[in-house]
C-alpha cells in the first residue's frame, strides 16, 4: 500500500530541511540534527544543538465541492528549532534562534510545493521561547500551513 499523502509531505519536508547547513549557504547547521516528533524525555545533548524537529499536528479537511470526493487539506506543521550561544564568532542564543527562523523560511520559501508533493505552503507564525540553566537555550517555532489534495475519501493523492 502506498504511503499517505501526509507521509509523502513529511518525508519531503524532512529532505528539504536537511539542506539547512552553512555549507549550503544557510546561516546555521540546524539541518544536521533533524527529527520528527521528538518527545520531551528524549533530551537533546549540547552537541545536538542547533537542531530541528517537526510536528505535523492538525489536518483540516474540506470537500472541494458538494458531492465530490476530492478533499482540500490544510495541515498545520510546527518546526521547532533549538539554539544556544556559539563562539568564534560570538553569537548569542537569541541571535542564533532568529537565524534558524530565517533559515527555515529561506529553505521552505525556495520551493513552496516541496517538489509538487504539496499544493502550497504558507507561513503562519513564528515564536521564541527562552529557558535558562547552566546555559541559555532558545526554542523557536515556525508554524506552516501546508495545503494538499486527496481523492475518494482517501489519504492518498
Amino acid at each position: 500500500m502506498a504511503d499517505t499523502k501526509r507521509q509523502d509531505i513529511i518525508d519531503a519536508l524532512l529532505v528539504r530541511l536537511a539542506l539547512i547547513l552553512t555549507a549550503s549557504g544557510y546561516q546555521t547547521n540546524a539541518g544536521a540534527n533533524l527529527s520528527e516528533w521528538r518527545s520531551d524525555v528524549d533530551e537533546l545533548a549540547a552537541n545536538e544543538i542547533p537542531s530541528l524537529c517537526i510536528y505535523d499536528t492538525t489536518d483540516d479537511w474540506e470537500p472541494e465541492a458538494f458531492g465530490q470526493y476530492r478533499y482540500k487539506h490544510k495541515m498545520s506543521v510546527i518546526i521547532e528549532g533549538i539554539a544556544k550561544a556559539s563562539t568564534s564568532p560570538t553569537v548569542t542564543a537569541m541571535q542564533n534562534a532568529r537565524k534558524i527562523i530565517q533559515d527555515i523560511h529561506a529553505c521552505i520559501g525556495s520551493d513552496r510545493t516541496l517538489g509538487a508533493v504539496a499544493d502550497w505552503i504558507e507561513p503562519k507564525s513564528d515564536r521564541l521561547i527562552v529557558k535558562h540553566a547552566e546555559n541559555k537555550f532558545m526554542a523557536c517555532q515556525v508554524t506552516l500551513e501546508i495545503s494538499y489534495t486527496t481523492i475518494n475519501y482517501g489519504t492518498t493523492a
Binding site: 521528538r38 518527545s39 520531551d40 524525555v41 528524549d42 533530551e43 537533546l44 545533548a45 549540547a46 544543538i49 537542531s51 524537529c53 510536528y55 510546527i78 521547532e80 533549538i82 550561544a85 548569542t92 542564543a93 521561547i129 529557558k131 535558562h132 540553566a133 547552566e134 546555559n135 541559555k136 537555550f137 526554542a139 517555532q141
Partner: protein, 104 residues
C-alpha cells in the same frame, strides 16, 4: 568540647572542609577566594516540545560574602569556569545563600 552548628559550618566554609570547593569571587573588580559547597546536578529543560540536557550549577556560601554582589557585573569562578549569578537565594535564616549560576 562540644561544637555548635555554627562551628560545624565554619569548618565547611574553610579550605580544610571535606566538601568545600574554592571559588574566586570578583566583586567590583576585586577578587577573593572563598570556600563553599558546589553542586551541579543534571537539569532537563522543557522547551516547548523538545527537552534539552543541561545542568543547574549552584554554590552555597556565607551570605555576608556576597552582600554587595552585583549580578550584572560581578562573577564567580570555579575550576576555571567563569559563572554569572542569576539569583542569590537565602537559605533558612539567611546566614547562608545559594548562588544560582550560569555561563551565559
Amino acid at each position: 568540647m562540644a561544637m555548635d552548628f555554627s562551628d560545624d559550618w565554619d569548618l565547611v566554609y574553610s579550605a580544610s572542609g571535606e566538601f568545600a570547593t574554592a571559588a574566586t569571587l570578583t566583586i567590583s573588580a576585586a577578587t577573593s577566594t572563598v570556600y563553599g559547597i558546589f553542586d551541579k546536578a543534571h537539569q532537563a529543560l522543557d522547551m516547548e516540545n523538545v527537552s534539552v540536557t543541561s545542568a543547574g550549577p549552584r554554590y552555597r556560601c556565607q551570605s555576608a560574602l556576597v552582600s554587595s554582589f552585583n549580578r550584572k557585573t560581578d562573577t564567580v569562578t570555579i575550576s576555571s569556569v567563569v559563572y554569572k549569578v542569576k539569583a542569590i537565594e537565602p537559605i533558612g535564616t539567611g546566614e547562608d545563600s545559594y548562588l544560582v549560576l550560569s555561563i551565559d
